[in-house]
């Protein structure tokens, strides 16, 4: 188990502050936040590439705050893969083991083993520039995993891949984590990717952790307006408009039922998205989104009645 306590890191004009964060073993944890929110910084603090100004990082009961990177039992996969261009795939993967002074046969055995897991066993003699982007990434993952780290750190591992490959690698990463029972910390700014992969999400904004929990919990019961709006599509209207008192009320498009109900709104725009349709409505001067079955036939300019699932509505 990885624990961060009172960790603070300040750059000019930016502070990351983590009062307490616990990464349980064997889970796929995704750190999610907008650009510049401090995700990479958090990862680098755990890796040891950055030293915190205060606080401690504890891995399986051992305080690693001041240990060099290579003594921390963490594996890192860089966004650019960062393979050694002058070494073969085999030597790339073997590098961490060589520096641990393992005997040669043992190194060979472990490199070949991890290469099979990552499906690159037939690439071991090649040089990085002879590999495709996806293969290079697998080599980078193999190099991080071959030392059997307690945590695997991935910084935006899907951002350098094209859209098709992204879905494929996404599935592969999750399967790999399950098969090895590894603890993975995956950083991304893509909420869909985060929800699809994470057993646990850590939402971070402006250097502060907003909320930690399983994706369904964060989606249904966000603790802050930021989390509510960052995960999925959202509507936010003054509570008075829907007769719920003072303040603001938030609800998801799928919690709006079009066709009947106490409220009325004008259809501004329709989007056909295959399994469903998304309508944008003018509700007393506030724009809201509503989801409807693909067979729905409201036209632009129509005034429609609708209701909101009040049980699921959130107050802010």
């Amino acid at each position: 188990m990885l624990i961060l306590k009172d960790v603070v890191k300040t750059f000019k004009g930016f502070t990351l502050r983590v009062d307490y964060l616990e990464i349980p073993d064997g889970r796929y944890v995704v750190v999610l936040g907008p650009s510049g929110s401090g995700k990479t910084t958090l990862l680098r603090l755990i890796a040891g590439l950055e030293r915190p100004d205060g606080g401690s990082v504890v891995l399986d009961g051992r305080d690693v705050t001041n240990l060099p990177v290579w003594e921390r039992d963490v594996g890192i996969v860089f966004q650019s893969y960062a393979l050694y261009p002058h070494l073969t795939v085999f030597d790339n993967i073997a590098m961490p083991l060589k520096n641990k002074r393992l005997p040669k046969p043992e190194i060979r055995r472990r490199v070949e083993e991890i290469a099979v897991v990552l499906n690159i066993a037939d690439q071991l003699h090649k040089y990085p520039h002879q590999l495709s982007g996806g293969q290079q990434q697998r080599v980078a993952i193999a190099r991080a995993l071959v030392k059997e780290p307690k945590v695997l750190l991935l910084d935006e591992p899907l951002s350098n891949l094209d859209a098709r490959l992204r879905l494929e690698v996404r599935g592969f990463l999750k399967e790999l984590q399950r098969r090895l029972h590894a603890t993975v910390l995956h950083v991304t700014h893509d909420q869909e990717e985060a929800m699809a992969l994470g057993d646990l999400l850590v939402v971070i904004n402006n250097g502060r952790i907003e909320q930690v929990g399983p994706p369904d919990e964060l989606y249904a019961r966000p603790k802050s307006l930021f989390v509510f709006q960052f995960l999925g599509l959202s509507n936010l209207v003054p509570a008075k408009l829907v007769g719920l008192g003072e303040g603001l009320v938030g609800f998801r498009p799928e919690d709006v039922a079009l066709g009947e109900g106490d409220h009325r709104a004008k259809v501004l725009r329709e989007e056909y998205l295959g399994p469903y349709k998304l309508y944008e409505l003018d509700f007393n001067g506030v724009r809201i989104k509503a989801r409807a079955p693909p067979t729905a036939a409201f036209r632009e300019g129509d005034v429609v009645q609708f209701s909101i699932d009040v049980k699921k509505a959130l107050r802010f």
């Binding site: 890796a47 890192i76 002074r101």
Partner: protein, 563 residues
């Protein structure tokens, strides 16, 4: 070719380069088979000149031995020193690069002269070095002094090239190395050195070329100790040339051209190579980072090495004449005295004027022709890779190669010993460099600016003059710096094509065209013994390039990647 005007713009530079480089190289080969008789006629001797060099010439072994020493010791020492300096720069920041680069901007004759004055065993610091037993032999007559001067001159290039190689290592790879347990010296061996190996090789070849063709230190050294002690092939071929033995000189030059071409080809190969040397990850090596203090110490030593001879020169130039030749020598002047400067400006005026004329004219010509050619080469792909390779080749070929055939041309045109001889020949040394700098500069140039101008109805010529040139100012500034530097410090061409100082009595004829680099050589001879005057001349000669350097510093740092 889509457009005749593209070719037209590039033509002046290309015609000039081909005419004045291909012809001399070919003519050398021909001349080397002849011997010039006392009557001035050429007599066919076949391979006689070559046989003479390797079998009969009593100086042959000395010349060849010196040449090998200069071309091996200079790069070996330069690169060995440059690696720790480049590491220190990477750790402490590129802003230290500029002062370290100063030797590359001092005229080579001045550099050599400053070292010889400083090491002088009677009147220089050499006196104290010999007294303390730090120096056994007289440095003035030692071949190692030539190596020392060449290391001083070529170290900046080596540092710059290797530093750029180290900086090109991606930050993520460095961090991945940390994660894999590579740090400090162990990472240096396993990652930095292999990944910078193409640049290290490049630096080695470039400095080897400097050592192989070295001329100025021998010219200055010989002025002090006499001939056939320090000579290498380059200097010896010049001596043969000035003794009128054109055939023998050409043969020596052909030998040098062949070896130099080999080095240049190796340079071009290293330059474009993407293959790295592989070194074992040495697990026994420590991972402790070298302390910052050590890096500072390395930089401080290099700064001392750079500025020691220049400082000595400055002190000397300010001494009253009576204190310059005295045993034991004084270090600080008893009072500041400008007599030396008065003497330098008095006697040196015609030389300085001529240097200023030719440097200004040649810089302007070079910038213009180079921009016209480089733009078409880069943006319109004129000439393709072959032309680029030829330009690179010319850059690494020294001007000495051309002197014999060009002398005959200049004499034939009846412009020997005039400004026009220099105007005609100087672009050979500056144009390739200028084209190369601007060729790289235009790689980031947006060709749509030209297309927009064409769409507005301008012709290509007009678009180039009105749109491209004004937008190339920073690149042309840097190209101009190098053109000025080479023109200002040139020695071989003025030695070969001029023999009297600029005749101020009839200034508009521009005849008599010796430059200050020749003046320095004349003052350095033990007969003249005008060490104060020569020191002042040296300081004066260093000022214009240093002013230019500070003026275009920002653009240079962009090119160096030090900003």
């Amino acid at each position: 070719m889509r457009d005749k005007q593209i070719l037209f713009l590039a033509l002046p530079a290309l015609i000039y380069l081909f005419a004045l480089t291909v012809y001399p190289i070919a003519d050398n080969a021909l001349l080397s088979l002849y011997e010039r008789t006392y009557e001035g006629a050429f007599k066919w001797v076949g391979l006689g000149n070559y046989l003479w060099l390797f079998q009969k010439d009593p100086y042959g072994p000395l010349i060849i031995g010196n040449t090998i020493l200069y071309s091996v010791a200079t790069p070996a020492i330069s690169v060995a020193l440059a690696v720790p300096i480049a590491l220190a720069l990477r750790r402490l920041g590129g802003r230290w690069l500029l002062p370290l680069m100063v030797p590359a901007f001092i005229p080579p004759v001045t550099a050599a002269m400053a070292w010889y004055l400083m090491l002088n065993p009677l009147y220089g610091l050499g006196y104290y070095l010999m007294k303390a037993g730090l120096m056994g032999t007289n440095p003035i007559s030692s071949v190692w002094t030539v190596v020392l001067v060449d290391v001083w001159r070529s170290l900046p290039t080596a540092v710059l090239v290797i530093y750029s190689g180290l900086r090109a290592i991606p930050k993520a790879v460095e961090e991945a190395a940390l994660a894999d347990g590579l740090a400090g010296p162990r990472k240096f061996i396993a990652v930095d050195l292999p990944l910078a190996s193409p640049q290290i090789l490049t630096a080695f070849i470039l400095t080897a070329l400097t050592g192989f063709f070295t001329f100025d230190p021998i010219y200055i050294g010989t002025a002090q100790v006499g001939p056939r002690i320090l000579d290498n092939l380059a200097y010896y071929s010049y001596e043969a040339f000035s003794a009128g033995e054109f055939g023998y000189s050409a043969a020596l030059i052909v030998v040098m051209t062949a070896i130099g071409t080999g080095l240049s080809l190796a340079y071009m190969k290293a330059f474009s190579a993407r293959s790295f040397v592989k070194l074992p990850a040495p697990v026994w090596m420590p991972r402790r980072e070298a302390p910052k203090a050590l890096h500072y110490a390395v930089l401080a030593l290099d700064l001392a090495f750079v500025f020691l001879p220049l400082g000595w020169l400055l002190l000397m130039s300010l001494k009253p004449p009576g204190e310059i030749i005295q045993i034991p020598p004084s270090v600080l002047p008893s009072r500041l005295d400008l007599t030396n400067y008065v003497q330098a400006l008095g006697g040196g005026l015609p030389y300085f004027l001529m240097s200023i004329y030719i440097s200004a004219i040649n810089s302007a010509v070079t910038i213009l022709l180079a921009a016209m050619a480089a733009y078409q080469m880069r943006v319109h792909g004129l000439g393709g890779g072959k032309l680029v390779a030829y330009i690179l080749y010319l850059m690494s070929t020294p001007t000495l190669v051309y002197i014999v055939p060009l002398y005959l041309v200049v004499r034939g045109l009846n412009i020997l010993n005039t400004l026009w001889a220099l105007v005609l020949t100087y672009p050979i040394m500056t144009l390739p460099y200028g084209i190369w700098i601007l060729y790289n500069y235009y790689s980031s140039f947006d060709r749509r600016t030209e297309e927009a101008a064409l769409a507005d109805g301008m012709s290509r010529l007009k678009a180039f003059a009105k749109v491209v040139i004004p937008l190339s100012r920073s690149g042309m500034g840097v190209a101009g710096l190098y053109a000025f530097l080479f023109s200002w410090g040139a020695l071989i061409f003025p030695l070969a094509f001029t023999y009297t100082p600029y005749n101020l009595a009839d200034p508009l004829r521009f005849s008599g065209a010796q430059t200050f680099s020749i003046y320095i050589g004349e003052l350095m001879s033990p007969v003249a013994m005008s060490y104060g005057g020569v020191a002042a001349t040296g300081i004066l000669s260093a000022i214009p390039p240093l002013i230019y350097l500070t003026a275009v510093r920002r653009n240079l740092e962009k090119i160096w990647g030090a900003g």
